[in-house]
């Protein structure tokens, strides 16, 4: 009995607290940058596509809603030929972002994705790719990878020596 009364009293006291409910959609909620919402594909500082088509996000996805095909341009740079996310399946767990070695795939603070037909929740690369570096500016995978893919030559990377001269026997 006492417990019941105490509960009622506490509930009643909430009337004088600051209100959490907001008048959405008139009023917009403020989301933090690390909020896990709509997924985007970002670009590197040179505005090239960041995604290298490594399939790690697809493998990490617990509901298997990412599907892509990697392709290579004339310089040997990898990019996704198509990149599809079926948002009607996505659970916004963020595993893909965590798996991505290039910071390409990112979850952003946007959840307003409702559609009348489910088919419209299937996003292709054109729908996913944005013209920004997203949360991780400055990172360019091809500068740190050993591969030469039109971004830098062999041995010109951030932490690389010039290519070995295999004709030299000097120590």
């Amino acid at each position: 009995m006492i417990s019941n009364l105490r509960t009622m009293a506490l509930t009643f006291l909430h009337i004088f607290r600051k209100r959490e409910t907001i008048q959405y959609p008139e009023e917009k909620i403020k989301l933090h940058p690390r909020w896990r919402g709509r997924i985007v594909l970002t670009r590197d500082p040179d505005m090239g596509e960041r995604c290298v088509g490594c399939y790690l996000c697809a493998a990490a996805c617990p509901v298997d809603c990412i599907s892509l095909q990697s392709a290579e341009d004339e310089n040997g740079r990898r990019y996704p030929e198509f990149f599809r996310i079926n948002f009607s399946r996505c659970i916004f767990c963020g595993y893909c972002e965590e798996a991505c070695p290039t910071y390409a795939i990112q979850l952003i603070p946007d959840f307003e994705m409702a559609e009348y037909t489910r088919q419209n929740l299937v996003y292709e690369k054109e729908d996913l790719l944005i013209d920004s570096e997203g949360k991780y500016p400055g990172y360019n995978y091809y500068k740190v990878a050993g591969l030469s893919a039109g971004i830098k030559g062999k041995g010109e990377g951030d932490n690389e020596e010039a290519p070995v001269d295999i004709h030299s026997l000097l120590p």
Partner: protein, 904 residues
């Protein structure tokens, strides 16, 4: 057997192995790089370190490389010792100081032995803050991609390429921490087994370039156990699909057949499956619209099928498909889709094999031979994997000597050091030089009839009961004595011959030698190379050649012809084949690719390739092997030939389309065996369709398979029901039994912590040995000896060169001579331009220089070919590349006329 103590626990292990092999066989996860089960140890990578103790009381111990230690009784070692563990993880850390940050763009990723070993040893963060060494890459041709930064200097590549496969153009260059694995100059890797580098190299330095064109990770592929379709050896392969396209072929370990390796034709010849030249829809010609669907097709066929039909089977179609056709048309109307000559050759081959007086060795057994005699086959080009086995046989014989000085058989570098250039006996008889000549102890370039005569002479010398050869050239007679002497002293002689030169006498001579070598206790080994992947299977059905159809003495010729997976023009020549085809009113062609004969069809029906069909094939040693459908094509018209044919039979029997029942390939096999008991055993090549483990099917997809709910979402957001497979114990999904399946059903190799092909270790009874439950495939030749002695007597007359007429012989090419692999762009690139090889003597007589254009008149056809002068070729003989697209359907060997174009 010896007892060793690993971390104080006793284990019984086999002697003669090294410690690493023993530990892996016992199931321990001990990392390694440079050791390879087929290539032995060199102790180069220092990754397999363990602690060894002197005895029970020694607690300090010493670090040792387990791959370089022999098993001794009462040996104490520790894998878990902290020092050993730290050492192993440090070795990886050192390797990683220079390893590029490439996994995301590295084709090895997900099946990378280096990744696996790094995780296994526990190295995680790079503490080395200095710069990484880099290398430039090389262009290595259409098959192999090079990314040298990723190298960890394990030396496996050169050991495979040079020591194992006999390649010349891959080597290690430079010194100290700059060693470089590549070619002296950019250029195509010449060896026929270069593709294995992608599996042998534990990193992403050498990768499959054709996979790169449509790159897919191993975990994303739908895979099935399959059989190579590109020669008669029937190497076991794993075929992988993604998005409805066949993407990769890798070797599927079978210790009896191909072991760890396959040839480049088998690995890269798969692109025909994805070809734009595929037949996509049933077509009824000469009406509008030509393309039809299944009901329309059946309505059209109803009348046609009710009459008498001639059926032509195929040496590249499965037993099931051939049998379904035979069932439809009736035994007497079923013909082999090969030329008369070929049927005769195959009859002879089967007669010899079935006599039971010879032993038909598997490829693995071939590796054990101490003397190899090759009669009239260019193995590297006609049965590549067997050529690789012959190379091992030759080296092994020399290595056997090393037993005397107590060198263990796994100690590769020491053994090679010991034998130097020493080789065992390889005796090779062929009209022109072959790649194996370089390791042959005796080579003789003879015309085909002379090869046969020499063969007969050898048999006669070994045992005078076998026919003698008259008027033998003195030189040849002398030579026969030498070879007979070598064969006589052999302990495990192996005779290899085949249909390659189209010469029946050679086949018989080879048999006589093997018969003559037979002792009371032992049968000599004899193996024949035959033309196609299922040539033996088709020949075992014992039908006539389709060239006999017209002489079959029918009162009225049937109006309908069904051609199964076959281009008749390839075996008979364009004009003959097309006049034969056009003598029928209705011509039904069932095939997967458009070709010359399919153009003449009145009804064209698409069927599945090996990747879209289940079936059984019989290889050259009589091993029945099952291949499984890899994926369900989106196009529902693409179905197994046997499925179509079985329905045709039902239609013929009067059922309507609605009444058609689903055929089962097992029923077909069952009926086949009842009707033709020579196939007994083929049904056991793989477990039946209702086989389950713990009630579950075996998944074709790895458990990490991705994109299930997105890959088809662009078409429809609701996922379709996954395709079902009623015919086999495999499922097209990732759900099912995750343990080790029976060996014929292994769709891919994977084990926890072992994502790369190195996981094969876990599927073997002992490392490098057979798969659990025995290797796949059932030998159909029982080897029961018939009581009567077989003495073949068909000694040809000596060949006399004719001034104006040449004997044109076929010269096979690994890239180019095979019908399907030529659709791969890389194979096409490597196939030869049309040429004619002529003898130096003939060239001098006619004043022909290299590359002069010669006109060849053959079977009423005329070709202009560039001359290639061969010093070794006998006069009066000329060779042209066998069955390349520009020169097909010539029915070789044949007589031809050569005319030199007038000098301008």
């Amino acid at each position: 057997m010896a007892i060793i103590y690993i971390d104080n626990k006793p284990y019984e292990v086999k002697e003669g192995k090294n410690l690493l092999e023993a530990c892996l066989t016992l199931g321990f996860n001990l990392p390694y790089f440079c050791w390879h089960p087929a290539m032995g140890s060199v102790g180069a990578c220092r990754q397999c370190a363990v602690k060894l103790f002197k005895d029970d009381n020694d607690h300090t111990g010493r670090l040792a490389m387990s791959c370089m230690e022999s098993i001794r009784d009462n040996l104490h070692l520790s894998i878990d010792d902290p020092v050993a563990k730290a050492f192993r993880s440090q070795v990886i850390e050192w390797l990683m100081t220079n390893h590029p940050h490439d996994c995301a763009v590295c084709d090895e990723g997900g099946s990378c032995h280096l990744q696996d070993m790094t995780v296994m040893t526990g190295h995680t963060y790079r503490r080395f803050h200095y710069k990484k060494r880099t290398y430039t890459n090389q262009y290595l041709g259409p098959f192999i991609n090079h990314e040298m930064n990723r190298c960890i200097q394990c030396y496996r590549c050169v050991r495979f390429y040079k020591d194992y496969a006999g390649g010349k153009d891959l080597d290690v260059f430079s010194a100290h921490d700059h060693v470089y694995f590549g070619r002296a100059k950019d250029g195509i890797l010449e060896n026929e087994f270069s593709g294995n580098l992608a599996e042998v190299c534990p990193t992403g330095v050498f990768t499959d370039k054709t996979l790169k064109e449509h790159y897919t990770r191993k975990w994303d592929m739908t895979m099935a156990p399959s059989i190579c379709q590109h020669c008669s050896l029937g190497c076991n392969i794993i075929a992988g699909e993604r998005y409805g396209e066949l993407r990769q072929i890798t070797s599927r370990f079978n210790s009896e057949v191909n072991g760890y390796f396959i040839c480049d034709r088998g690995r890269f010849g798969y692109e025909f499956v994805n070809s734009i030249n595929r037949i996509q829809q049933p077509v009824i010609r000469a009406r509008f619209p030509e393309a039809v669907n299944k009901p329309e097709l059946f309505v059209h066929l109803k009348n046609i099928l009710s009459g008498e039909i001639i059926g032509i089977g195929s040496p590249r179609a499965s037993l099931e498909s051939n049998y379904a056709l035979r069932k439809l048309v009736g035994k007497s109307n079923f013909y082999q889709g090969v030329a008369k000559k070929q049927v005769k050759l195959m009859e002879t081959v089967l007669q010899i094999i079935n006599s039971g007086h010879v032993h038909i060795p598997s490829i693995k057994e071939s590796e054990q031979a101490d003397v190899v005699l090759i009669l009239g086959e260019d193995l590297t080009n006609s049965a590549p994997r067997l050529a690789l086995a012959v190379r091992q046989a030759v080296v092994k014989t020399a290595m056997d000597e090393a037993k005397n000085i107590n060198l263990p058989s796994w100690h590769d570098s020491a053994l090679r050091e010991y034998i130097q250039e020493e080789n065992g006996e390889l005796l090779s008889l062929y009209p022109v030089n072959t790649k194996l000549d370089e390791i042959a102890s005796h080579t003789q370039y003879l015309n085909p009839d002379e090869i046969a005569r020499l063969g007969y002479a050898i048999a006669n010398l070994l045992n005078p009961e076998y026919p003698a050869v008259k008027n033998l050239d003195d030189g040849v007679a002398e030579y026969a004595k030498v070879l007979a002497g070598i064969l006589k002293n052999a302990i495990r002689p192996l005779i290899i011959s085949g249909t390659g030169l189209g010469n029946e006498s050679i086949i018989k001579a080879a048999a006589n030698i093997a018969f003559a070598l037979k002792t009371d206790s032992q049968r000599a080994s004899l193996i024949y190379v035959v033309p196609e992947c299922n040539s033996i299977g088709l020949a075992m059905m014992q039908a006539g050649s389709y060239q006999d159809v017209l002489n079959a003495g029918k009162i009225h010729q049937p109006e309908t012809l069904i051609i199964l997976e076959n281009d008749l023009e390839r075996s008979w020549g364009p004009s003959e084949a097309s006049s034969f085809i056009s003598s029928f009113k209705n011509v039904i062609v069932i095939d997967h690719l458009h070709h010359a004969s399919s153009q003449k069809a009145t009804v064209l029906i698409p069927c599945g390739t090996f990747a879209e069909a289940d079936g059984t094939m019989v290889n050259n040693e009589g091993r029945a092997q099952r291949f499984f459908q890899v994926f369900m094509p989106a196009n529902e018209n693409i179905r197994e030939s046997w499925r179509w044919l079985d329905e045709f039979k039902q239609i013929k029997d009067g059922r309507t389309i609605e009444e058609l029942s689903e055929p089962e390939n097992e029923n077909l096999l069952g009926e086949l065996i009842t009707e033709m008991p020579q196939f007994k055993g083929a049904e056991m090549a793989a477990p039946p369709g209702d086989f389950r483990i713990k009630g579950q099917k075996i998944p074709r997809e790895p458990h990490r398979y991705s994109g299930r709910t997105a890959m088809l979402a662009n078409l429809n957001v609701s996922e379709p029901k996954p395709p079902e497979d009623p015919d086999t114990p495999l499922s097209f999904t990732m759900e099912g039994y995750r343990g080790i399946p029976p060996s014929p059903l292994i769709p891919f190799f994977w084990s926890p912590g072992w994502n790369s092909v190195q996981s094969i270790n876990k599927y073997q009874v002992e490392v490098g040995g057979p798969l659990h439950g025995g290797d796949p495939g059932i030998r159909l030749f029982t080897g029961i000896e018939s009581s009567e002695r077989l003495i073949l007597n068909d000694v040809p007359e000596a060949f006399h060169a004719n001034e104006n007429e040449w004997l044109i012989i076929p010269l096979p090419h690994i890239f180019g001579s095979e019908e399907l692999s030529i659709y791969s762009s890389g194979v096409k690139e490597r196939s030869p331009q049309p040429y004619i090889a002529i003898a130096r003597q003939d060239a001098d007589r006619l004043n022909i220089r290299e590359d002069d254009v010669l006109q060849l008149k053959l079977n009423d056809r005329v070709f202009n070919l560039k001359a290639k002068i061969k010093e070794e070729l006998a006069k009066g003989i000329a060779g042209i590349p066998f069955n390349i697209p520009a020169l097909y359907g010539l029915n070789l060997p044949a007589k031809g006329i050569l005319i030199k174009e007038k000098d301008e």
